[in-house]
């Protein structure tokens, strides 16, 4: 390995499953890695992105060229580790600058064994993914570099995202409790399908004691905590594989317990109601997405990280086994369903991230909406 003042010179190559490749330099750990190539357009919040369990088995391409400028601190991670399977940046920082930073991102990636690549035309790669859709990718650096045919074969041998059941791989294995901040008002059972740390915190701030349960939790496990409301979190993978959580969700709906879902949780609600889910061409990943709340007409700028979406009719109320349902939120960029709500019982979900982290706080009101549902139920 040759290291100059301008950072590592270890060569790296990124190979897409359709054969296009990019040559750059190693970033983070040296070696090889595979995953689904997706791009994220957020200009801030790389620490949150890297530690978001929904990015499990994905190689994330950062469209913002400078990454790592504020280093790494101990407060901003959204989970216990970095989940992305690979990281692609253009211009990594050489020194971090922030009063909270304790180490560099490069060090952190290397320490957690995350293979990355830097110095490539990330915009060209992003445009490629936009036109051809998300696809499998491999990053190879140092000794892992071989001739491109060999590398391409390895990429093609890697598993697909479609049909992947990943929630259990990222979720907690043991239940734990996040106590309410201040006076406790409600108990919520939160099914962890890849939950981000900020989500229980947003609930705790509103007087909710959050019982975080493993992805494998059964309906009985959920009801055992005697919840005022049930929450289904975000998480990685294909919702079509999530039969377990869908069954739990149906049980909750039967009981008419107030219910709130985010991201994967929204897809599960969709499936529980009988809607289909499908894979988007290249997904929504960023913190600038305009979503309209159809009940108020207002637009919120929101954080997104989803490759799948619910297939529900936009302009009609649908009849479901749990009463009437409608699409409550829609993305104004492409009319993708971003939220569902039941009209006859207290249940709703959104496809995006009201807990933000990273991203704007515009949608934080949804946690208040959840609280209102629980209050109404109690009254």
């Amino acid at each position: 390995m040759t290291t100059s003042t301008r950072g590592t010179r270890v060569p790296a190559v990124l190979v897409l499953e359709d054969g296009r490749s990019f040559r750059g330099r190693a970033y983070g750990a040296v070696g090889e890695t595979f995953g689904e190539a997706v791009f994220s357009t957020g200009m801030t919040g790389y620490q949150e992105t890297l530690t978001d369990p929904s990015y499990h088995r994905q190689v994330v391409v950062m469209t913002a060229p400078h990454v790592g400028n504020t280093g790494v601190n101990d407060e901003d991670p959204e989970s216990r580790k970095i989940w992305v399977s690979g990281y692609v940046v253009r211009d990594p920082a050489r020194v971090p600058s922030n009063w909270r930073a304790t180490r560099t991102l490069d060090e952190e990636l290397a320490a957690q064994g995350v293979v990355g690549i830097s110095g490539i035309d990330t915009r060209a790669l992003t445009r490629h993914l936009r036109e051809r859709g998300a696809m499998r990718v491999g990053i190879f650096s140092g000794d892992a570099i071989a001739d491109e045919t060999t590398l391409l074969a390895k990429v093609k041998a890697a598993p697909q995202m479609k049909g992947a059941d990943l929630a259990a791989e990222v979720a907690t294995t043991e239940p734990y409790v996040v106590p309410a901040i201040g006076e406790k008002k409600f108990t919520v059972a939160a099914v962890d399908l890849g939950i981000k740390g900020m989500t229980p915190r947003r609930m705790a701030e509103r007087g909710i004691e959050v019982h975080v349960l493993p992805a494998t939790a059964t309906a009985d496990d959920v009801f055992a905590v005697n919840p005022d409301g049930v929450f289904f979190s975000n998480g990685p993978g294909d919702p079509a594989t999530a039969d377990g959580p869908v069954a739990v969700m149906r049980a909750v709906l039967e009981r008419r317990t107030p219910l709130f879902g985010i991201c994967f949780g929204n897809q599960i609600l969709g499936r529980a109601l009988g809607f289909g889910t499908y894979k988007l061409k290249y997904g929504h990943r960023g913190i600038n997405q305009p979503v309209q709340d159809r009940t108020t007409g207002k637009v919120e700028v929101t954080a997104h990280n989803h490759g799948f979406a619910v297939d529900a009719p936009l302009d009609t109320v649908s009849d479901t086994p749990y009463g009437r349902a409608e699409v409550s939120h829609v993305c104004l960029n492409d009319n993708v369903v971003e939220g569902l709500q039941l009209l006859d019982q207290p249940a709703f979900s959104v496809q995006y991230h009201p807990e933000a982290a990273a991203g704007p706080h515009d949608a934080a009101y949804l946690f208040d909406r959840f609280v209102s549902l629980m209050e109404a139920e109690r009254a």
Binding site: G45, E75, R90, V95, N333
Partner: protein, 1103 residues
Amino acid sequence: MPKRTDIQSVLVIGSGPIVIGQAAEFDYSGTQACRVLKSEGLRVILVNSNPATIMTDPEIADATYVEPITPEFVEKIIAKERPDALLPTLGGQTALNTAISMHEQGVLDKYGVELIGANVEAIHKGEDRDKFKLVVEEVRKKIGHGESARSVICHSMDDVLKGVETLGGYPVVVRPSFTMGGAGSGFAHNEEELRRIAGQGLTLSPTTEVLLEESILGWKEYELELMRDKHDNVVVVCSIENFDPMGVHTGDSITVAPAMTLTDREYQILRDVGIAIIREVGVDTGGCNIQFAVNPEDGRVIVIEMNPRVSRSSALASKATGFPIAKIAARLAVGYTLDEIPNDITEKTPASFEPTLDYVVVKAPRFAFEKFPSADSTLTTTMKSVGEAMAIGRNFTEALQKALRSLEKKGSQFTFTGPAGDKDALLREAVRPTDGRINTVMQAIRAGATPEEVFDATKIDPWFVDQLFLIKEIADELAAADRLDVDLLAEAKRHGFSDTQIAEIRGLREDVVREVRHALGIRPVYKTVDTCAAEFAAKTPYFYSSYDEESEVAPREKPAVIILGSGPNRIGQGIEFDYSCVHASFALSEAGYETVMVNCNPETVSTDYDTSDRLYFEPLTLEDVLGIVHAEQQAGPLAGVVVQLGGQTPLGLAQALKDNGVPVVGTSPEAIHAAEDRGAFGQVLAEAGLPAPKHGTATTFAGAKAIADEIGYPVLVRPSYVLGGRGMEIVYDEARLEAYIAESTEISPTRPVLVDRFLDDAIEIDVDALYDGRELYLGGVMEHIEEAGIHSGDSACALPPITLGGFDIKRLRASTEAIARGVGVRGLINIQFAMAGDILYVLEANPRASRTVPFTSKATAVPLAKAAARISLGATIAELREEGLLPRSGDGGTLPLDAPISVKEAVMPWSRFRDVHGRGVDTVLGPEMRSTGEVMGIDAVFGTAYAKSQAGAYGPLPTKGRAFISVANRDKRSMIFPARELVAHGFELLATSGTAEVLKRNGINATVVRKQSEGTGPNGEKTIVQLIHDGEVDLIVNTPYGTGGRLDGYEIRTAAVARSVPCLTTVQALAAAVQGIDALNHGGVGVRSLQEHAEHLIAARED
């Protein structure tokens, strides 16, 4: 909910002349807004006194009033046009203040005009420091973040002195309320500074109010641009981080978008605070800009201020993101919501989103301290820069280096050769923020400074400091490498090194580096500014270069014309040139070409992606232009490159472009040389039998003296290669000549000094003309009000000429034609003549669009720049007459007798500058241009037109009161008649003893006042300077002798600036002012739109 149906007509107020702190960005914003409103079917009425703007082109609004932006004139316009609404948020502080004052006077109520875009309460909450503090407190209560710097509001010097104690001592920041560009604000480190800054601030503030604040010097500074609609949807369009920490006005800082050194948590705090503020202030259909300071040690956030309107930063943010803030603000003002407005760039997504960038934008300010040698060049919270360049790169280093070379100023690029200097001395120097501090920092790094030392000296964020180290390390590698291999060269280009920098480091010629680079296959690619980091396909070809893999320039079929813009605004090369470039783009697009604009000035209309078919936001250096030419030649046929409309910048590239095989259209590089080279031009004149003032060149004092002795004093001396009259001086005697030669650093054996006979008392005349090789179209003849010797850019002028007869015009026409033919012009030429003793001397010729083209075009209702662009590409004047672009017959030399008179007046930036002792800089006009902008007054007769020009430039002429007169001996004769007229108009005259004596002998009574040098009299009689300071003088006439001026004159003139009293520094201006006062006192000054003037003129032409 779509557009409001209850508004059919809107009055838009522009920002008036270009001044420091309020410049071309408001033409960009205003033009966008007017176009949008017009396309919405509204009748758009515009008032703007600045003729050099696209927004005052007659086709942009329905009724365009080039009238002074004062409540009096705007009321006249309202009374005449009866608009339903007034949109005041697009014309800077000028428009906002005018609108507020009209609201307060009840004018808006009287005529039933609704203020849209921002309501009065919101404007007050945003701009009034006291109220804004309450806003911030309220926000903190609601969301727990944001606070104001601890501060005290003061209305008197006593308040101010007490305030410092309350804040816990010095340093403190002084900020006057309701001034633009931070005028009058600054840091006070002790009582003396405090008294001076706060004293002036109290005067400048229309509410006699200043704010004293705790010092947050050295904190990180950020800005957010926000927009909000009537449904309370809010988006943050852009975040901007200042490279220079707190203490330097954001207009004078190097700024970066997006913010580079914030975590998401910290950024979201700023965003939350910003949104809460725009809501609390109540901006509900428009945009605002909010500035923050962040303590680098703990993240404490202080809200500095907000502007409830479109601003310089919003123009920058629009160019940086592709999100057109002004355009959208105008739509919001008439009732749309953000989600109803499409994103122009993607066409399929809405404007209710936040742009995300996959590139870095750097803006660098351009200063003009060389024009004001006595001014203190320390950067403070008062803006001093006169222009800016923006650059886009795929990383910070690339964008920064592009921005620095875009400044087109000697020494603005980093240099890595030669001795760096003493590290400690450089670090000490870097403590003081000033023009080029970043270069000092780079030299300190070269001299061995550590990152910590640089941070300690400058408080520039460590991440930025490291980027400078990165650049320096690459320079070291370039210097140390055995040869330029592909990896190293590509790496250097990826970090923004220009071919010239690499050449300098390697000891090669620039063209050799370029050849090597091309041989190695290293060329820039062009990426698109698309608002969304490639998430959606972009429809708008808005490009920037980068050394990356994939280019996005699409092939095209139509022949393209590349128009080179004029770069950053500077004194001598401003918005007027942008105007001509934009016109060329419009005209050539209409003629069937694909127009490609190249420019790096974010303030302008030319860099609006709507202006041309393609926009390259790039520096205007040979290397960058050649890159674009190559890319466009790959894309399709290239008809040529237009270099003659963007001022000296593109003109200077003409020969090199031609040498590189680029088709330069219009006037050929050889012809340009014939006009610019003194010897060659002398030949042209000799062949045409035209006289020029006697002249010679010398490299020593002895040589210069010999020439001066032969041609006689006074002489005009200047270095041989200057722009805008740089270093030019009128020398009246040998002693001064010797001193000039000794002082000038620009004179050497290879750089001679030019010595010209100075034509005392000559009338100076400017001519703009078109020539196609056969026919001459005389665009306009402008007669200067001030005599020859005052730079044409600083002189007022009248069109049509007010004292020239038919015979003179005939001579001017013949001379102009002879020169245009002799030089070989194809397009525009500007010639300056001086008429002395009935001889018409040729002073100089510029084979390009001049500063006066927009003025001439507006005064004569003929689009000269459009015609020039067409001629460049082969059209003839006869064809253009046939087409109707030019009048069928006649030209600017044959205007009908009842054509309106237009007066152009220059606007000077005196009030912006102080010397190191805090005193004002002298205001005397000279051969070196120092004005930043201009206004136009147009009316049926000269007096009224002149009065309007003064009202537009400096405030209305007084129609009664006390006039102080003190003139140099040589002016005493010509002063008598105008002085008598002033008395006839009821003025009381004050004069110094010498002038009073002359007046008395001519039967005019004048009260003798004490000179400053005489001090206060025994009975407390005030000196003239005290009288001016106390507001007891309404008009000042003070002409200097030579340059430099006597101390008294200096004190008088700087006092006049401080008190904003009209101050005339030439007797010609006095004569014109008297005509203006006469017109005002005869009442009935009306307003008339350019469209009405044009209609009248066209009708008269056809008679």
